[in-house]
Symmetry: C2
Subunit: 127 residues, 2 copies
């Protein structure tokens, strides 16, 4: 199996190594192996798990919740229903958040329109 160092993993996801170490310390990466010298080795499985962590992070799931999820992953198939429920709930929360931002964008668009008109009118008057 192909293993990847922390430096390569960091480059692959374009994040600092320190962030990966921090996530591991927080319990987000329960399966990382080490070589004889104590260096982290990331397997393909590990990289795939990291990808879902990044999806959860990117959708603002708190570290503590992601840890809960990873604990369930580590526990095995008995926790599939818990994980399913968590992902469904999270999806809904994310969708609600996106909707709320989209609404706020409408308020911002009002300003953009007003400012644009104001500037155009000033142009007119300069003529």
């Amino acid at each position: 199996m192909k293993y990847v160092t922390i430096g390569e993993a960091a480059a692959r996801w374009n994040i600092p190594e320190s962030t990966i170490r921090y996530y591991e310390k927080k319990g987000l990466l329960p399966f990382i192996e080490r070589d004889e010298a104590g260096r982290r080795l990331f397997s393909e499985r590990q990289m795939a798990l990291f990808e879902i962590i990044l999806c959860l992070k990117n959708t603002q799931m708190p570290i503590g919740d992601i840890k809960q999820y990873m604990d369930w992953v580590a526990q095995g198939d008995d926790t599939v229903d818990l994980r399913l429920e968590m992902m469904k709930k999270h999806k809904q929360a994310v969708q609600a958040h996106i909707d709320s931002m989209t609404e706020s964008l409408a308020g911002i668009d009002v300003k953009i329109d007003r400012y644009t008109n104001q500037i155009n009118q000033r142009e007119e008057e300069r003529k």
Copy 2:
């Protein structure tokens, strides 16, 4: 003109009074008037400004940037172009953020599908 106390404003936006005071301290609310006793009085104009602050907050604009925007508002019409540019940039950033979250949601959907199938299959086998 109708004025509103901090308590009424807080209730109207459903946020703690302390948050409003914090925003004022940070320079986000440059126009708040006070009564003889030093209590804040929010005019309709103030409430409208607050609404746009909430839009910017809700779309994750940092406090410092919102302050910059409000400083420009306070400076008057000379800063309309700066404000327009800022709002346009911000809109783009927000749209990019929404797109990125939407992509992450796809990764989460993959998990939802997998878990759902796993559970259905378990159901089948129980029969």
